[in-house]
């Protein structure tokens, strides 16, 4: 018993109990030695004074202790009826079983069946630290107990910070569930929530997943006013669950939300839907999403990712996180993938719902209705790697040139790889055929293009023992050369279905084509040079990496998307990252233009995590003429039990806070309070701002998922750890 008030110290000594009565099946036997090894099911009765009729009734007085198996009673006074197997105890009665404990004034208990009652009890359940007091507890079986006019809390002590008070409560330790009748929830002595008797309020008696109410969230937003949500979690089965999250939004009405997850041997997925009859717009507004993946046959997988919003502004009006508002394309993708022995094929259809913003319209992307892809390849066939990609796609756009494109792209390489060096010569062919149609004139046209390409990749790996920051490590030096030759083909008449200039980075400079997609094959007569150095600890972990790379062009590139011609050298890439110490990580990447010595793109980041739940992130992102922003985020304990959380995403280009979040968490032993305020841009002119408050009472309800403050913090603050 952890309740000190109900756990009298056991001062029993052997000398005080010289006599034991041992019940062996049907007779009571006097035993002098209490250390005797007992058979399971044996009842051991001890007391300072024992009287009565050994075969029928035993009266026990002073420091009574009765033990059978994992059951243990203590009391001032007791009577044991042997035939009924019934114990009547009074005065400081205590019953202990598997770490659970019940104490009271008066108890009746049938040892065999576990049926009985206790008056004025207090109780303690070991699994979830559940405890409380009551008028009466009736034991219905070994696992079930019914509490009359009782309390329940997971806080220790006689005056718990929170407790549930109910006219009836049924505790079932077998299924780890408590169900309360008419109940009132008190926090710091103040009633904060009440439930009527018809609503059976259930709570978990262990940390396991359990159906029940999730911590309610109260908040306010500039778009909806006061908000109040009480999610309900259904633990349908170990591999499926459902969360209902009704939310009352003062200015708009009642929003109904539902989120389900499931996992089977051959399938997995999750779906969510939200719907509201909006009082402001006087329309029905909704958002739905469904992700599913299923093996319909051993090698055939069906998968989809479908999203739909009722209108352009739905995420901006109802979401309290940039994760939904920042993405203005909702994908609708469905298809089959087949995995063969050395080949795979997929048939997919992809389209998008564009959430338009009148102040900054978005050009809709092409839709693929559908796309058939076949990839085949094998490595190490007489030392050679081969692959063929074939694609056939029907591209559709409401206003731009539509068409059907077929592409065949065979590649053959001969990698020669040794521990200290590698050489990979490769030849490839890119053949494409277009059948295009102008949507205005309905004029059709056929276009064809075949582009061969040869490349040679090569590199050396040197190593030495080196010392860095006082640690002996292996340092590598890896120079690499990559030559590509691709002839020029005039591609000005070809549409741009799925093609753009790729980001310039270390993955890109070792690709043959500077474009991503299949509509442009860049002419090339160029060599990429790069040098990488790594510091590797003796356990094989990479501690630091430094890299620099640049491309040199031997010709003037003619294939271009914007008509710009290239200088003789590409931008210079520089990158470094590593773990300075156990708590400090740094990374930096820089792309410098060689024509005007200006930074094209850069990224710097520092993460400092001196202890769990103590983290600071600083990140700077720059893209010339697009983006210049500084982000600071973190979680930090400021006082005992108090944590501050925050994030600021500031655009130095527009001198504007793009996203800001601030909050605190207070963590007590048996509850936590969270407050999170946030503000983020949703369009050029408008912002979302608001706050939410959540009180989590440990053990009464688990923290759910979806739109609650913990989830918002996890998504916004890299490295955030929930305090409870």
């Amino acid at each position: 018993c952890l309740l000190a008030a109900f756990a009298p110290v056991q001062a029993q000594t052997q000398s005080a109990n010289p006599i034991s009565l041992v019940k062996n099946s049907d007779s009571l036997v006097l035993k002098v030695d209490p250390q005797l090894t007992l058979k399971p099911g044996t009842t051991v009765i001890q007391a300072e004074q024992v009287s009565g009729q050994p075969d029928r009734v035993v009266h026990l007085d002073h420091q009574v202790e009765v033990t059978r198996g994992d059951l243990n009673f203590t009391a001032d006074k007791a009577t044991y009826l042997q035939i009924e197997d019934q114990l009547d105890a009074s005065g400081n009665v205590q019953l202990r079983r598997n770490g659970d404990c019940y104490s009271g004034d008066l108890m009746r208990f049938i040892l065999e069946t576990g049926v009985g009652y206790v008056h004025n009890p207090s109780y303690f359940l070991a699994k979830n630290n559940g405890q409380g007091r009551a008028e009466k507890i009736e034991f219905e079986s070994e696992e079930k107990a019914k509490i009359t006019n009782g309390t329940y809390s997971t806080c220790d002590g006689l005056s718990p910070d929170w407790y549930l008070k109910a006219d009836t409560m049924s505790l079932d330790t077998g299924i780890d569930t408590g169900v309360a009748g008419k109940s009132v929830l008190y926090f710091k002595g103040v009633p904060i929530m009440g439930t009527p008797s018809w609503l059976k309020f259930s709570f978990p008696l262990s940390g396991a997943r359990h159906s029940g109410i999730l911590p309610p969230t109260v908040g306010h937003s500039n778009k909806g006013g006061v908000e109040f949500g009480v999610p309900y979690y259904f633990n349908i089965a170990p591999n499926r669950d459902l969360t209902l999250h009704p939310k009352f939004i003062a200015r708009r009405g009642l929003q109904l939300g539902m989120e389900g997850r499931y996992l089977g041997e051959t399938y997995a997925g999750e779906s969510a839907v939200e719907i509201i009859r909006d009082k402001l717009t006087e329309t029905t507004r909704y958002f739905g999403t469904s992700i599913h993946r299923q093996a319909v046959m051993p090698n055939l997988v069906l998968s989809w990712n479908m999203n739909k919003a009722s209108d352009n502004d739905y995420p901006a009006d109802f979401s309290n996180s940039t994760n939904k508002t920042a993405q203005r394309l909702l994908v609708r993708d469905i298809g089959f993938d087949y995995y063969g022995s050395f080949w795979n094929a997929s048939l997919r259809s992809t389209s998008f719902q564009v959430l338009q913003d009148i102040t900054a319209p978005i050009t809709a992307p092409y839709e693929r209705l559908p796309q058939l892809t076949v990839h085949a390849g094998q490595s190490d066939v007489w030392g050679m790697d081969w692959s063929i990609d074939a694609l056939a796609t029907q591209f559709w756009h409401p206003t731009l040139t539509r068409g059907i494109r077929t592409v065949v792209n065979p590649q053959l390489s001969y990698p020669y790889i040794q521990p200290g060096f590698f050489v990979v010569p490769k030849v490839s062919l890119h053949a494409a055929s277009y059948q295009i149609e102008d949507p205005l004139t309905s004029k059709t046209n056929r276009l064809q293009r075949t582009v061969p390409s040869v490349s040679l990749d090569s590199g050396l790996i040197f190593e030495r023992r080196a010392s860095l920051l006082g640690t002996k490590m292996t340092q590598t030096l890896e120079p690499r050369l990559f030559y590509v030759n691709t002839p020029y083909r005039d591609q000005r008449d070809f549409p741009l279905f799925d093609t753009a200039l790729a980001d310039f980075n270390f993955a890109q400079i070792f690709s043959e084509n500077r474009f991503t997609g299949h509509d442009r094959i860049g002419d090339a007569n160029q060599v990429t040079t790069a040098l990488v150095s790594r510091f590797i600890e003796d356990n094989g972990a990479e501690r630091f990496k430094f890299a620099l790379g640049q491309r040199f062009y031997f010709n003037t590139q003619k294939v271009s998307l914007d008509g710009k011609t290239n200088p003789s050298r590409s931008d210079l890439l520089l990158a470094g990252s590593g773990q300075v110490s156990d708590t400090l990580n740094v990374e930096a990447a820089l792309q410098v233009s060689q024509s005007d010595r200006q930074t094209e793109r850069s990224s710097y980041g520092i993460r400092w995590q001196p202890a769990p739940k103590k983290i600071l992130n600083l990140q700077y992102q720059f893209q010339r003429e697009v983006l210049k922003q500084l982000e600071l985020s973190g979680q930090w304990p400021v006082a005992h039990r108090w944590y501050v959380v925050g994030k600021s995403n500031y655009s130095l280009q527009n001198n504007k806070m793009v996203e800001g979040l601030a909050g605190f968490e207070y963590r007590a032993d048996c509850w936590a309070l969270r407050f999170v305020a946030h503000r983020f841009a949703t369009t050029n002119l408008s912002n979302n701002s608001g706050f939410s408050i959540q009180l989590e009472l440990n053990g009464l309800a688990r923290i759910g998922f979806g739109s609650n403050p913990v989830e918002t913090l996890k998504k916004n603050i890299s490295g955030y750890q929930a305090t409870n």
């Binding site: 940039t322 994760n323 920042a326 993405q327 203005r328 394309l329 995995y339 795979n344 992809t350 998008f352 564009v354 913003d357 900054a360 978005i362 050009t363 809709a364 992307p365 092409y366 490595s379 190490d380 790889i417 521990p419 200290g420 060096f421 040197f462 190593e463 030495r464 080196a466 340092q475 590598t476 030096l477 093609t499 753009a500 980001d503 980075n505 993955a507 474009f515 991503t516 997609g517 003796d538 094989g540 972990a541 990447a589 990224s603 990140q619 992102q621 893209q623 697009v626 983006l627 922003q629 995403n649 655009s651 280009q653 504007k656 793009v658 996203e659 983020f680 841009a681 949703t682 369009t683």
Partner: protein
Amino acid sequence: CGFALRGAVVFPFQSIYVGLPESSALGGELKRNLRANGKTEVTSQANNAEVILDVLGETRDKVILSLNSQGRVREFNLIYNLKFRLRDKAGREVLQPTTISLKRNLSFKENEVLAKEAEEALLYRDMQSELVQQIMRRLAVVRMEAPAKLD
């Protein structure tokens, strides 16, 4: 300055089973690199191998890295996490669960979403190759205990 061409990589085990499905691209590249020294056998059955590489988690996350002043995504962070361990035949952990985490930046524009899809695939392939090299470095230095004696 002390640099010498890297010598042959000798793994402290003769045979290994890689616990990734046949269709896994990561598994394919890893097996190929393990076989490259010509001395390590990659078995197709777990019970034939001296050590077993268990993949405890392989996750790919795409998180928003930066927003423009209209609150739209302009950069994503692609994060590739792999958690694995190495066991010997007797089930003892030769290499404790180890997580390797790699990330890449990807710029984004709504009208280029199809092009960015192909670029994302390129960046994941690039991370996959780096992941394989880092796994190889870890495997090359594991300490094998003496084989368990059978009574």
